[in-house]
């Protein structure tokens, strides 16, 4: 057999062996990985409304217990009315998580899925029942550049959002944006409640995230307006 043929045969065999090995491993471990991702997702929903702390570690059961007790998933119709899960198929709805404290809504949580620089940025933005104050923000997944845009996963950046307003003084929707640099120095006084500190070296990530938040929040405006006017009704119990 010529050298060339030998190399090709060897390469093909390698590919088959390694391919089989990796596929087997990936398939076998997938259920566990999915379980971890699901738990991480729930933990982040809880983080967004400060039901768990970033500094502590929790067991799987603890997260599940708090989640099942306090968080419920509903849909939001086009008029902003909150509808039951089982009606979700009847009209186009947006998913919304409600944080319930003694059967009263304390805050609502909007899932964020938006384009970043290199891939999707996913997370949750929690808004207080007043419909305008950001209660918390978490990132569950992103593929931004580590050390630059990847800093969005840092605690300080996420905590940055707490207490910001998505509406201005007159009650008009303005969303919340990532500033270029520090809010203190870069943003005029009247806009400060709507800006969070940016990350140096990650201007683009900030821009994408700001745009994404604006788009997503504006879709949720109908329900936010209802919260502001204090006329949210829980779907028929």
């Amino acid at each position: 057999m010529s050298d060339m043929a030998k190399s090709i045969v060897f390469a093909v065999c390698m590919c088959i062996v390694l391919g089989t090995l990796l596929t087997t491993a990936a398939t076998a471990l997938q259920p566990l990985q999915q379980r971890n991702l699901e738990l991480n997702r729930k933990k982040n929903v809880l983080l967004a409304v400060n039901l768990v702390s970033r500094d502590k570690s929790y067991t799987r059961e603890e997260i599940m217990t708090i989640y099942d007790k306090k968080i419920e998933l509903f849909g939001v119709g086009q008029t902003g009315a909150i509808v039951e899960d089982d009606k979700i198929s009847e009209e186009p709805v947006l998913p919304i998580y409600l944080y319930l404290e003694n059967d009263a809504i304390n805050a609502y949580i909007v899932p964020i899925d938006t384009q970043g620089v290199w891939g999707m940025i996913s997370g949750y933005l929690a808004i207080d029942k007043d419909g305008s104050t950001v209660k918390g923000f978490t990132i569950t997944r992103h593929s931004e550049t580590p050390g630059l845009g990847g800093e969005i996963e840092r605690q300080w950046f996420q905590e940055n959002f707490e207490g910001k307003k998505i509406v201005d003084k007159n009650g008009t929707f303005v969303s919340v944006r990532v500033a270029r640099g520090e809010v203190e120095r870069q943003v005029p006084e009247e806009d400060k409640p709507h800006y969070v500190d940016g990350i140096s070296g990650a201007t683009l990530t900030g821009k994408y995230l700001s745009e994404g938040l604006k788009q997503i929040l504006s879709k949720y405006e109908p329900v936010s307006i209802r919260f502001r006017d204090n006329r949210v009704e829980m779907p028929g119990e």
Partner: protein, 210 residues
């Protein structure tokens, strides 16, 4: 023959100390900067690297006589990359939090020049038992530097060792502060530089011999 004179022992000991991949050869520094803020991540990274480097050295050494010379680098990379992906999948399934902290750096073990260097430079031309010892030695050499750097950075940067507070509260009351600089990448550069200098001084290598 004394144990320390055997070829097997030398294959392990040389890279672990006198020919340390980081301090003496200045390889694999990028990951040493990235994962040494805490001992925990440095420890897992060390284990992952030892697994990958020993495994790939063994596999390549076993196949060294049948690997066609013209595609050997690709074969080596294929083996290394597969082991790295296996490690990554394993961490994501069983040690989710740590895999999040290590983020891309487990995947980047593939590009760690130490591993390709050892498979190409040693495993391709040595029998399996020596290749395994060489892999373990390099893993130990890399890991010892990583853990030392992480120990210093975690101790002075966050006042902790393996996540446990060790600086007594009375120190903080007396005005002691954690060095924020230790948490930044340049701190690792400086520590590695000092360690390389110390080791070269201790082993009597002054650069002129090379």
């Amino acid at each position: 023959m004394k144990l320390t004179r055997t070829k097997t022992f030398k294959a392990f000991a040389a890279p672990a100390w006198s020919n340390n991949p980081i301090n003496m050869q200045m390889l694999g520094i990028c990951s040493a900067l990235a994962v040494t803020i805490q001992l925990k991540t440095a420890f897992v990274m060390t284990l992952a690297l030892i697994f990958v480097i020993t495994g790939s050295s063994l596999i390549i050494s076993l196949m060294r006589k049948i690997i066609p010379g013209n595609i050997r680098i690709i074969v080596e990379l294929g083996v290394i990359a597969s082991l790295v992906i296996l490690t990554d999948e394993f961490l994501r399934a069983y040690y989710f939090e740590i895999s999040r902290l290590l983020s891309v750096f487990v995947g980047l073990i593939i590009t760690n020049c130490i591993i390709l260097g050892r498979t190409e430079g040693f495993a391709m031309s040595n029998p399996p038992h020596l290749a395994v010892m060489d892999g373990l030695g390099n893993g130990a050499g890399y890991g010892s530097v990583l853990l030392s750097v992480a120990f210093l950075r975690e101790l002075f940067g966050s006042g902790k060792v393996f996540g446990v507070d060790v600086i007594p509260a009375s120190f903080y009351d007396a005005g002691y502060e954690n060095m924020g600089f230790m948490l930044l990448a340049p701190a690792a550069f400086i520590i590695i530089g000092l360690m390389a200098w110390l080791q070269k001084y201790l082993t009597g290598v002054d650069g002129k011999d090379q």
